[in-house]
């Protein structure tokens, strides 16, 4: 690189990054603060992490969150893959445009609306057919599936639209039946997109607060809900520690998903 950054551009970049990541950095830094006071630095300590791990309420919430994330990511993967397949392989059928729009709708729909409408649906269903009796892990997972499958279907459709169909035809031509072709050719080649889609859905579920708040009942409290409610009473350094851990987990998942997707794009399949 021969062209140097102008001083103005350099300043703007620093300001921009500071604006974006300053608050996050302060959370991480103060999670190692020895003092209980969030704004006063009193030396390095990991005591909040130790306290955090012995906090039953938070541990239970973490387990609930992971359970919901696992269920919803897997459900979103299955439904999203089916939708992505239909959207990329069947270019013409009645209602295709509407179908595509509805699938990806949750991507742009305000979360408050998604959450509220699902809540109303669950309440109405509960009155009409007696299910769900109470809201909890299952209802949150269902809500997260609707959101997650939108992401999965977009990722899968993108992968399939760059997929060379003649690979499948070649396998068919060489004597493999359609189901075998799917198992030994299509699936291995789109697997990276599936893994990436699963990880995306998993993180989405893990850090969602709004939809979970709407669709949860008294029996299920997720991690973001615990964080949010405890922060209202004043920020405990424990929460900083928890936020740091969550941040690491989410960042790792997104990084891995990005890596996998990038590798798929560079692969010679297309």
């Amino acid at each position: 690189m021969t062209n140097r950054l102008s001083p103005f551009l350099g300043t703007m970049i620093i300001v921009g990054f500071a604006f974006l990541y300053g608050p996050i950095a302060s959370v991480i830094v103060y999670s190692f603060n020895a003092s209980r006071l969030v704004t006063v630095w009193a030396g390095f300590s990991t005591r909040w992490y130790v306290e955090l791990l012995s906090n039953d309420q938070i541990r239970n919430a973490a387990l609930t969150s992971f359970e919901i994330a696992l269920i919803s990511a897997t459900g979103a993967l299955i439904l999203g893959t089916l939708a992505g397949f239909v959207l990329s392989r069947y270019r013409r059928f009645a209602g295709r445009t509407i179908f595509g729009g509805l699938i990806t709708g949750p991507l742009v729909m305000p979360e408050v609306i998604t959450g509220l409408s699902l809540l109303l649906l669950f309440v109405a269903l509960g009155q009409a057919i007696g299910w769900p009796k109470e809201r909890g892990v299952l209802t949150i997972a269902i809500a997260h599936i609707t959101l997650g499958m939108a992401y999965v279907s977009v990722v899968v459709e993108a992968r399939l639209s760059s997929f060379d169909r003649s690979l499948e035809e070649a396998a068919l031509d060489l004597g493999a039946k359609p189901a075998k072709v799917f198992a030994v050719i299509t699936l291995p080649l789109i697997a990276p997109a599936l893994v990436a889609g699963w990880l995306l859905a998993f993180t989405l579920s893990l850090d969602d607060l709004v939809i979970a708040s709407f669709t949860s009942g008294p029996s299920a409290t997720t991690l973001p809900m615990v964080i949010f409610s405890s922060v209202r009473m004043g920020v405990s350094p424990q929460i900083n520690a928890l936020a740091t851990l969550l941040l690491v987990a989410v960042a790792a998942a997104v990084l891995i998903a990005g890596r996998i997707l990038a590798r798929t794009r560079n692969s010679p399949t297309t």
């Binding site: 060379d164 035809e169 396998a171 031509d173 060489l174 004597g175 075998k180 010679p268 399949t269």
Partner: protein, 375 residues
């Protein structure tokens, strides 16, 4: 190596491959992609389907492989109707234009794919893959992935993969198009050699007339979904059935003319276009006044400063341009009437007999050199 005994070797009375009035129109297409094609192939033949882009060659191949269903007509292989047979059950393999190698499998696994689908024993697969890789000279690359191969190597893997199941018919969709010119010419000989070795019927699609003529024993020229002419390369080149075939198989000079005299094998034509009378041999007596075209390949024209006594026809003109190609030169001549004709001069005299632009010249040919096109 596939032994000759693995397929019925007898030449029965049933033709090997028969296409009868096969037609296909894609939904929302204005005209059919394949429009009533009938064709018969003999066992062990190297046949080429030649035609311009979009004339339906790939569509025809895909119907033979089973990827497209014909709207009408029938396809029979050794007497068996292929109508209801799915692609994975047909005794046909295809070499794809893009090669379609499986990127997540090694070269050996790609080649062995067909045998694994046929549930052959492991050691048989290993042995036949090794033999097949030897045949295409790729033994050293068995462990590589397709992404690590050159274009020519990929092409040979695709060929090996399509041959290993010993199909009754191998379909090749423009097998050489993706190679560079030099490799393409070497591969022509290689492909013909391999075809002789394995004895499998090859049906190759190409839009390169040189490729078709140099490799195939018979050619079908296609135009807009129909077959315009079928024959041996020399036959199609020397005796084209119509203007399209004549023009597609190489450069040609056409003179519009009318028949003014006809004897048993000699026609006299009057061409208003060039204001001259031309004589040409023809195997059919045409009624006087018939509108025809006289077609003349550039290499059949002779050029000289004075008309030659051996010529039956000669036209005067001036040299308009010369394109030196090494083994020959293409010469453009502007006749006195203004029409441009092309001649090819073999490079016999080296640099000595060069032509100057604007120099007066005579172009002539004998009566056997031209072809009368009735349509």
């Amino acid at each position: 190596m596939p032994g000759p005994g693995s397929r019925p070797a007898s030449e029965g009375p049933i033709p090997h491959l028969v296409l009868a009035n096969v037609a296909k129109r894609f939904p929302q297409a204005a005209s059919p992609a394949v429009d009533g094609v009938s064709l018969e192939l003999a066992r062990g033949e190297f046949f080429a389907l030649l035609g311009p882009s979009g004339c339906g060659k790939t569509t025809l191949l895909r119907m033979l492989a089973g990827f497209e269903m014909p709207d009408a007509g029938s396809i029979r292989i050794d007497g068996q109707d292929m109508g209801a047979v799915p692609p994975y059950a047909r005794p046909v393999n295809m070499m794809f234009q893009s090669y379609a190698l499986f990127p997540h499998m090694s070269v050996a696994d790609n080649v062995g794919f067909g045998l694994r689908q046929a549930k052959r024993p492991k050691d048989e697969i290993a042995a036949r893959v090794a033999a097949m890789l030897d045949l295409v000279k790729l033994g050293a690359l068995a462990r590589r992935k397709p992404g690590q191969l050159s274009g020519g190597e990929k092409q040979r893997v695709a060929l090996a993969r399509a041959l290993i199941n010993e199909p009754k018919l191998l379909l090749l969709d423009e097998p050489l198009t993706a190679l560079d010119r030099k490799l393409r010419e070497e591969t022509r000989f290689e492909l013909v050699r391999i075809q002789r070795r394995v004895g499998i019927t090859f049906l190759m699609v190409t839009h390169d007339q040189e490729e078709a003529m140099s490799m195939a024993s018979r050619i079908a020229v296609m135009e807009k979904g129909r077959i315009a002419q079928i024959g041996a390369p020399a036959e199609v080149y020397e005796r084209p059935a119509n203007r399209f075939v004549a023009g597609f198989l190489g450069a040609i000079n056409l003179f519009e003319a009318r028949v003014v005299a006809a004897t048993n094998d000699l026609l006299t034509l009057d061409s208003v276009e060039i204001g001259a009378r031309l004589t040409v041999t023809h195997d059919r007596v045409l009624p006087l006044g018939t509108e025809v075209a006289l077609a003349l390949r550039p290499e059949k024209l002779s050029l000289a400063r004075m008309p030659d006594s051996r010529w039956n026809n000669s036209l005067a003109g001036t040299v308009r341009g010369v394109a030196y190609r090494g083994e020959a030169s293409d010469v453009e001549i502007e006749l006195t009437c203004g029409k441009i004709v092309r001649a090819t001069m073999a490079n016999i005299g080296g640099a000595r007999d060069t032509l100057d632009i604007g120099q007066p010249i005579f172009a002539g040919w004998s009566g056997e050199a031209g072809v009368v096109l009735e349509q």
